[in-house]
């Protein structure tokens, strides 16, 4: 069994539920997409599926916990809704990049805007972007990080999810005066258009 092909297949089975279902429906055709021979594809498809599903579920739980650690304020604000929103995001998006603690959080935050506002208040994506920007800025060295928000992000941290917030454009800047100095941060309220 070719190692590169079997590894590529296991990776897709683990991260992509749609590909997983397609593979088990038509292993020869779908396995060929990652280089499995018909014999290899059938051998993999005929082996016990349960451990593969458990492996995928374990990865799913790990990603969910990782984003919770990266964005504790945003996830706490979401409460019970977090699991549902994460499941929706993860079903569409495989794990991203090589920075496990950041790249998936970037994907989740980007996906928040596509979720209907019945599932989260309009200001929530700004809260998540703000929290994530802190993490990114901490790693960016002396290059400043600049973000524009629709809402007064400094206030959002303390709000319950049901709170109504009036949009108030806000500019946020993070920087380090030197590579070893502490991270600085400032928020500027901007005039409304």
């Amino acid at each position: 069994m070719g190692l590169a092909a079997i590894q590529a297949a296991l990776a897709r089975l683990a991260i992509d539920p749609t590909w997983r279902d397609r593979f088990y429906r038509d292993p020869i055709a779908v396995g060929a997409e990652v280089g499995l021979s018909p014999t290899e594809a059938l051998a993999l498809a005929e082996s016990d599926r349960r451990p593969i599903d458990e492996f995928a579920a374990s990865l799913h739980r790990k990603r969910r916990a990782q984003i919770r650690r990266t964005l504790p304020i945003a996830v706490r604000a979401l409460g019970d809704r977090y699991g549902r929103l994460f499941d929706r995001y993860a079903h569409e998006a495989p794990p991203r990049g090589s920075r496990a603690d950041l790249d998936d959080a970037l994907g989740f935050v980007a996906a928040l805007n596509s979720f209907p506002e019945t599932d989260r208040p309009p200001w929530f994506p700004d809260l998540a972007r703000y929290e994530l920007a802190w993490q990114l800025a901490a790693r960016t060295g002396i290059w400043p990080v600049v973000r524009l928000f629709r809402f007064p992000v400094g206030r959002l941290i303390h709000l319950p999810l049901a709170a109504e917030v009036t949009p108030a454009p806000t500019l946020a800047i993070w920087w380090r005066p030197s590579p070893r100095s502490r991270l600085r941060h400032v928020l500027f309220p901007l005039p409304r258009r």
Partner: protein, 284 residues
Amino acid sequence: MGAGVNPMDDELPALGVGLGFRPPFLADLFRNRRGVDFLEITADHYLDAPPEKLDELKLLADHFPIIPHALDLSIGSAEGMDDDYLEALAGLVERLNPPWWSEHLAFTRAGGVAIGHLAPLPRTREAVDVVARNVERIRGRIATPLILENITATIDLPGAELDEPEFLSMVLDQTGCGWLCDVTNLYTNAENRGRDPMAELDRWPWGRAVQFHFAGGHRQGGTLIDSHAHTTPPEVWRLLDEAARRAPVRGIILERDENLPPMADLLDELDRARAIARRYERWA
């Protein structure tokens, strides 16, 4: 085979018994400095880290011997390893200058996909060759001895030519690496496959073991999960005792990631592991 690892070599110091470092332990560690002989850090947490995190690492390294433990080098990938990751890891190892460092006998990247999770290798001779090739490349960048950890795996990929002890032994022979024996993983894999770990003890390459991991997991739907979330169970203590009897181990690490107990409970577990190592005169 390059800079192979012989645990009996006097150049590998005995580090004693310690903890897998997690940030919530920080304050308690310094209050209980004498109960912890060394620390194992997750290397990945310090590869692309802000200055504050590097300050934390310096603080730890000023007070404890540190062993870097990497997660995402993907040492078993047929497509090779990520150059940037290897370079960053080499920088960390150089900075800490440890007596050894460790990775998992697994792959985390394939087909252009970063899985973000340790995936088991098919137990084939081709996989052994791939690991050996990758280790050679690592040695071109990191001269510090590398030890490889056995992982938990519920998946048995088809086409296996070797069983678990044979596969591990062949990898260690061909690479010259030492063994980071995760005793809980040995127990977990045996238990999940309905085998008795005590019955197959003599088949493992104990002479190559440099370091042990131990921890407690939990059951989920009949499957034992290595979650590092509970106190070490009696079965793992018995296995740790047998492992220490057989292996010239130089360090033992308790792993705890979830459901964190008071530091005193962790120190009790360290004391028990220390007593086992002393019983077999693994260090003074």
